[in-house]
Symmetry: C2
Subunit: 145 residues, 2 copies
Amino acid sequence: MFSKATEYALRATIYIAQKSSVDKKLSLTEIAQAIDSPPSFTAKILQLLTKDNSVIHSVRGPNGGFYITEKNKQLPLKKILEVVNENDLFEKCILGLKKCSETNPCPLHFQYKPIKQELIYLFQTNTILELSEKADSESLFINNK
Amino acid sequence: MFSKATEYALRATIYIAQKSSVDKKLSLTEIAQAIDSPPSFTAKILQLLTKDNSVIHSVRGPNGGFYITEKNKQLPLKKILEVVNENDLFEKCILGLKKCSETNPCPLHFQYKPIKQELIYLFQTNTILELSEKADSESLFINNK
DNA sequence: CTAATTAAAGGTATTTTTGTCCTTAATTAA
DNA sequence: TTAATTAAGGACAAAAATACCTTTAATTAG
């Protein structure tokens, strides 16, 4: 469904929302361990999410790390997909046809349509905050190996 | 959503179901042109679908090519996904967590569950025949560029 | 039987994705 | 001010997906 990059972006953001605050920032090392992702690759993805502080924030130096503001916790999950450029899922034809449309539909078009709508709804209505609250504080990301 | 390989597999099979018969086999060249896919790569995928005649059939030599039997047209689309090994879509956690389950759910688990069910239903209940009949005989695959 | 046609099979090449490493910049504490 | 810490940024490496090409095998028509 999603690329590794997107999976890591979603997991990392949810974890950061769950565990961080302005005065309790999380290091790359902690995040990567918690969500079971390769640290260096995760760093790249966190950079994307940090750009313009669009999703998460970062601070360098001792006691630095990553955190997310209360305001940004109100962002929908969809925002994360936009940042990692996997947002086209909600526009693409399921058969990969470039010109599939309402007037020139692929054979799956009208059956897939409501499913796509539900996916869009899922990522548009769920905020980072809501998801982080659903994430059990201990058991979610550990034991993922 | 799907890999290129899977998209080509679905498109090719639907096209073959729509246009071929035992005495009107389709060549690789025609198929690849019709569904707008790279011929050599498509050949590999058709080989998979042909193996053990599990989905489509092939004949070498002059007037050879690919076709599908009426019997195999009754197969669900899911069969195609199995052959190209993208069947795990219906089992995987949307966040990529290895141990996500009913008792240890990821934060999206219960919201994604019904969507996943609908996807499974879509690919299990739709047969190749049904899809090929929905595919407009002329306008579906052309103009895809 | 021979030549032509078409898919099968295998190897190779390219591109994209995923992952690593090293240096630089920022921040902090001593 | 210096040393330590942590993310940013860039170059590089490995793996996987996608795409191509060449030879072989099967089939058919003449």
